[in-house]
Amino acid sequence: MKKLNKILLIDDDDLINFIHKKIISVSGCANEIVYVRSAMDGIEHLKTTDTIPDLILLDLNMPAIDGWGFLEQRKKININPSPKIIILTTSVNPDDRIKASKIKEVDDYLNKPLNPETITEVINKHFEHL
């Protein structure tokens, strides 16, 4: 079983963050799960944290700066090693999926709600070296 060091959740909804944290804990695929409630807090976290997350689960629809805005801001800062970014959204609009596929920083696109199988699958797919 692959285990990541740290996962960062970015979502404005506290209940959703709670659920996702719970599910990832249950699946047991990360040592540390952190969540922030806005895109800017996410950027701030990346800038200041000691342990850079291996994976970011990013919500699209958020107040003020949305998920797309986060991706824009992400490009402006230099983090090494670069965390993988997976969009995790309620949006069923195919346009969003297409838009996401065109952004090279985005590694995958998932729909909410998250479940233990999906998160394990995704980690297996994107972290082969582990």
């Binding site: 404005d12 506290d14 209940l15 709670f18 409630r37 107040p63 003020a64």
Partner: protein, 502 residues
């Protein structure tokens, strides 16, 4: 020109002016007099009687070529009768523009008579042995004909589906005949053929797409007839060149017009189709929003009811974590319910189009009353300047002010006393109303986003709400043909401006 003719022209001119200035009664009286002069004279001709109209106003002095002293020509009398008819029918809303049709006939009679003088053919202005139409009378009728045609086009412009074709009949007959007459009487057909271009140009006003081509065919035929019948002398080659050039110019114009017409018809059809699709889609969307949000409420109510039951009957048996889950479900149900209601209300705006004279000062009083608890809680200070009275939907305007003022009170930094200034300014066609606050302000890059539905700039626990208030405002203002926008300095405050049509 006889005295009665001059009198008829004067009266006809006055009645056209009266129609133009919407003086219906005066126009009718003048028109009736014109008609009477024309019609009585016509009767005199028809039954060979003397009704003593000819010298009623003035002793005759023209004796040359008159049927009866002082009597106008029969064609003049006919033209006056037609003039009266066409002015009477000027506002008639039928499929055929009668007035304009008669107008074109008057022009035709005038034109042929006028040209008769030019080419020395009395056939066109003198009918039999009766009085002849004078050259200036003919000229006058051309003017009256065009005048009446245009006036009736103007008056009936908005009638959909009315074909202009019939109203051009007079021109379509008179113009080719006149040109042919000129042609036959001019040597070598010099340039006359190009006059047929006018005939082709008339095709522009006719709905039939290929009409210009047909008219060009007629013109070509007439040019050839002209060649047969006009004096060519011994310079036949010159006549041939002249006529060929005429035919070429007629066809160039005809084909050009045909193409322009085709394109503009295509464009019009596309636009019509597009508008229809758009209207349909819009309606579908409105229904979709209404039905779906309505139906969504049902299962949501069930979820929330069962959650309440679970809480009520099993709360004590469950541990803290389970109770937290139940509370979370209830919280989400409430949120979803308010989102759906927001969507429903947003969809309903504009469903009621009723407009009355609304006093914004009164509306503001009502709004203040409705949010008194909020104002008291936040110690908010409202400064309201004099506001206008305007035609609008009362409920919509109430919602507009309520949303803006509530926002102004809500989006405040902690521990500040909200100070809200509402002012109005008169502009050319609109009233501009502004709601100014000393709140937290909005970053410049978000100023456009704030009017979108469900768009929020803050997390729910910072500033509560679901993001429909400003979307509602925007829709209301749009429904009233106005605009809404905001200016802001972050941390200092925002000003929301909107315009409403007077």
């Amino acid at each position: 020109m006889q005295f009665n003719t001059a009198l008829g022209f004067t009266l006809a001119g006055i009645s056209i002016l009266m129609v133009y200035f919407n003086q219906c009664t005066k126009a009718r009286i003048c028109t009736a007099l014109v008609g009477l002069i024309g019609f009585i004279t016509l009767l005199e001709y028809l039954f060979s009687i003397n009704l003593f109209l000819d010298e009623l106003f003035m002793k005759h002095y023209i004796t040359l070529k008159t049927s009866n002293p002082g009597r106008m020509a029969p064609n003049t009398a006919l033209c006056f009768t037609l003039t009266a008819l066409s002015i009477f029918y000027i506002n008639t809303r039928s499929r055929i523009n009668i007035s304009s049709l008669i107008g074109s006939l008057i022009f035709g009679l005038g034109l042929t008579a006028f040209v008769g003088y030019y080419i020395n053919t009395d056939l066109t202005y003198a009918w039999g042995y009766f009085t002849q139409m004078a050259i200036h009378t003919a000229f006058g009728f051309m003017f009256i004909g065009i005048g009446v045609s245009f006036l009736s086009w103007k008056a009936t412009n908005r009638i959909l589906g009315q074909s202009k074709t019939s109203s051009l009949l007079g021109y379509l007959i008179a113009i080719p005949i006149t040109i042919l007459l000129i042609d036959i009487n001019s040597p070598l057909g010099i340039g006359v053929g190009t006059l047929y271009v006018i005939l082709v140009l008339l095709g522009w006003f006719i709905d039939l797409q290929k009409i210009t081509i047909y008219l060009a065919l007629v013109a070509t035929l007439l040019i050839l007839i002209g060649y047969k019948n006009s004096p060519t002398g011994n310079q036949e080659w010159m006549a041939i060149i002249n006529r060929s050039l005429s035919i070429i110019s007629v066809w160039i114009v005809a084909i050009l017009l045909y193409n322009i017409k085709k394109n503009s018809n295509l464009f019009r059809k596309n636009t019509e189709d597009y508008t229809k699709t758009l209207e349909l889609k819009n309606k579908e969307l409105e229904q979709f929003v209404y039905i779906s949000s309505h139906d969504l409420q049902e299962p949501l109510k069930v979820i929330s009811s069962f959650t309440s039951l679970l809480e009520l009957e099993h709360q004590k048996k469950l541990d803290d974590e389970a109770n937290f889950y139940i509370a979370s479900i209830k919280q989400s149900c409430t949120k979803m319910s308010s989102l759906i209601n927001g969507l429903l209300n947003y969809g309903r705006i504009g469903a009621n189009h009723e407009r009355t004279l609304v006093d914004c000062n009164q509306i503001l009083n009502d709004v203040t009353e409705s949010i008194t608890p909020l104002i008291k809680e936040k110690n908010a200070e409202l400064i309201v300047k004099k506001l206008p009275r305007l035609h609008a939907n009362q409920n919509d305007l109430f919602l507009l002010f309520q949303n803006l003022i509530t926002n102004a009170i809500k989006f405040q930094a902690p521990n500040t006393i909200p100070k809200i200034k509402i002012d109005s300014k008169e502009e050319l066609s609109h009233w501009r109303i502004s709601v100014e606050d000393n709140g937290i302000g909005i970053e410049k890059e978000h100023l456009n986003k704030i009017f979108l539905i469900f768009k929020r700039l803050h997390n729910v626990d910072e500033y509560e709400g679901i993001g429909v208030g400003l979307a509602q405002c925007s829709k209301i203002v749009e429904q009233h043909n106005g605009q809404i926008w905001a200016t802001s300095t972050p941390q200092k405050g925002s000003v929301f401006h909107f315009t409403l049509k007077k």
